[in-house]
């Protein structure tokens, strides 16, 4: 595999391979010196056209722990500000002898286009409303650690603005690929216009499914979404779709809570639920580094066993 543009680039066996590799890298990250020489001599460029703290840090940490050199493109001071095109920017980076570009862009499909313009590996770190495949991989990895390696039949609810969410587009597919039963939960204005091709079901009644889930995956609600007429007010959103303390009590005792971060405490999730034992949100972040090590290793590594 050369690129990771979409979670659909991996079949179930591919996702399991990433998870298995992640296991070994997680051990590495727990060592005193959490570093292996697997990608020594390789250079990874992180090219973020959109602000991101966690994804960018996660990728850069992963690359460094694999001993790769990391080149960071700072968009606020770069030639992009001078009007350079995406194509010119990535071809310039390629000319410097970089092995992989990790790209985040505010528009869908930018990584796909970049992959047609350069020969190096392209990793999608989130593009518009399209996909966020490494998020999906870390979600599957984290869920498997709690629900068991076999996710078939696991009941997973993804709640929030699915229509505008790249996380939902990748994570729903990844869980479904692993055999889970995925339900999207949102007001109709936040569900996709068409569910054709989505291996999921959908509902606008959160309360109705509370007793019928193993894992609740909450998406970040962006306040500015109110401008796009998706919902009347944050208060109304919380009352109908927020995982409030009251709703949390109606979940089964073993139900897990996930969130891609950053959270809006008090909106999609109450502060108490976020801190509860059911929440494995911090673990998602921790696993994120190891998952991204696995992805980089898979795309750039020699194929030799991890040290």
């Amino acid at each position: 595999m050369k690129n990771l543009l979409s979670i659909s680039d991996l079949d179930q066996a591919g996702i399991i391979e990433v998870c298995d590799l992640t296991d070994s890298f997680l051990t590495v990250t727990h060592r005193d010196i959490p570093k292996v020489p697997a990608l020594r001599g390789k250079t990874v460029a992180s090219v973020f056209y959109e602000d991101s703290t966690r994804t960018r840090l996660s990728f850069e940490t992963a690359a460094k722990r694999l001993s790769a050199d990391v080149m960071t493109m700072n968009m606020s001071s770069s030639s992009v500000q001078k009007g350079e095109s995406l194509r010119d920017t990535v071809q310039t980076i390629e000319a410097m002898g970089v092995d992989a570009i990790v790209i985040r862009h505010r528009h869908a499909g930018a990584p796909n286009q970049v992959a047609t313009w350069v020969d190096l590996s392209v990793i999608n770190a989130g593009d518009g409303r399209h996909e966020h495949p490494t998020q999906a991989l870390l979600d599957v990895y984290t869920a498997r650690r709690h629900l068991g390696d076999d996710l078939s039949g696991a009941r997973i609810a993804i709640v929030g603005d699915i229509r505008r969410s790249r996380v939902a587009r990748s994570t729903a597919k990844a869980f479904a690929q692993m055999g889970a039963k995925v339900t999207l939960v949102a007001p109709p204005t936040m569900l996709p216009d068409s569910l054709a091709g989505w291996p999921v079901t959908a509902t606008s009644d959160f309360d109705e499914i509370l007793s019928d889930v193993d894992l609740v995956y909450l998406l970040r609600i962006q306040h500015e979404r109110q401008d796009s007429m998706a919902f009347p007010s944050l208060r109304e959103y919380v009352s109908r779709y927020g995982l409030t303390n009251d709703r949390a009590t109606r979940l089964g005792p073993e139900v897990l809570i996930m969130h891609p971060g950053p959270m809006n405490r008090g909106v999609e999730i109450s502060p108490e639920v976020a801190e509860s034992d059911a929440s494995i949100i911090t673990e998602q972040v921790e696993n994120g580094v190891a998952v991204r090590m696995a992805v980089l290793y898979l795309l750039l590594g020699s194929g030799a066993p991890v040290a």
Partner: protein, 424 residues
Amino acid sequence: MVIRGGLVVDINGERKADVRVEAGKVTEVGTKLRGDREIDASGCVVSPGLVDMHVHLREPGMEEAETIETGSRAAALGGFTAVIAMPNTEPPQDDPIIISAVKARAQTALCDVYPAGAITKQREGLELAPMGEMHSLGVRIFTDDGACVASAGVMRSALQYARSLPGAIVAQHAEDETLATGHMHEGEWSSRLGIPGRPAEAEEIIVARDCILAAQTGTPVHFLHLSTAGSVAIVRAAKAQGIPVTAEAAPHHFTFTDESCATFDPLFKVNPPLRTKDDVAAVKAGLADGTIDVIASDHAPHPTETKERTFEEASPGMLGLETALALGISELVDAGVMTLPELLALMSWSPARLSGLADHGATIEKGVTANLCVIDPNLEWVLDPANLASRAQNTPMGGRKLKGKNRHTILRGEVVVLDGQATR
């Protein structure tokens, strides 16, 4: 000059005949004609020149994409002897001075160029442009194309005012911009790809509204690039009631579907967007049963750099003049939707009549202006964007096998295209 050995096709039907052209006119149609200069038409169809009611020539203002000269050369190569140039130039064709300037620049063009006038000043949809003054300069098509006249009040005013302008047609780019906020057809593929959409109802709402306004004012409304099954149904129903509406369809709307956008290639980005296969079928049916009156290319040149952006940032539109005929032959004639003479009606005499162009689309007989094209309907060719006459190369059809090609074009008796090559 004699055009020899072809099958002459026009509104009166088809017959094997040679055509003599002298001093810009057809002087004789008969058999076994000989002349000093003979143009070979064997195996070909001799037709009145094609007429494209919808092209963007980009001059003035965006000459890096196209000029009147390069666009008219592309038109001539495509078999067109007349085009209507849309007013979204910079500055826009919303004023008699710009109209006169475009007409002056078009004097040396390789086809007749008729500028359309804007309906509103600056195409902003707020105040009426001087339609009467532009009408006195010969403008018959008024449109804000590229933008929809969003306000029902402004549209009704334009239609009422146009009653005083004989032959005037108000042409609408039907897309409600409060719904068409995205970049591709809203549906299965936009939902999968995460690209914000432009739903079918954005077009249909305006088509329905303007049918009502056409009925109320009595002024003809022409719908540009009709693209949805719902729009076709609305226009069909309106025509059945005798409402004075007409419509056009663009070749890309009967050739491609929204699935083409799955690779995120901005060459497939166009407004209105590529629709579903049901919409494609409805557009074809509308062309076959007369609901849609003409085929128009919506030739929209854009410089490469505005297409090498993300799908969401790229400019909408694609080239069409040099591929329209081939797509008509491949997708409509070969697909059994219509005969070649019916296709030529949609591409020549129907748009000529609708646009009020007496010199174009005429019956090929003694005395008419010699605006003709000679088409080889069976020639198979592969499109190389670098070989197009247009200054821009934004066509998604590069490398695509096409069937049917214009061979010669005669403009007022002058051979402007000979054997697929422009003569100037």
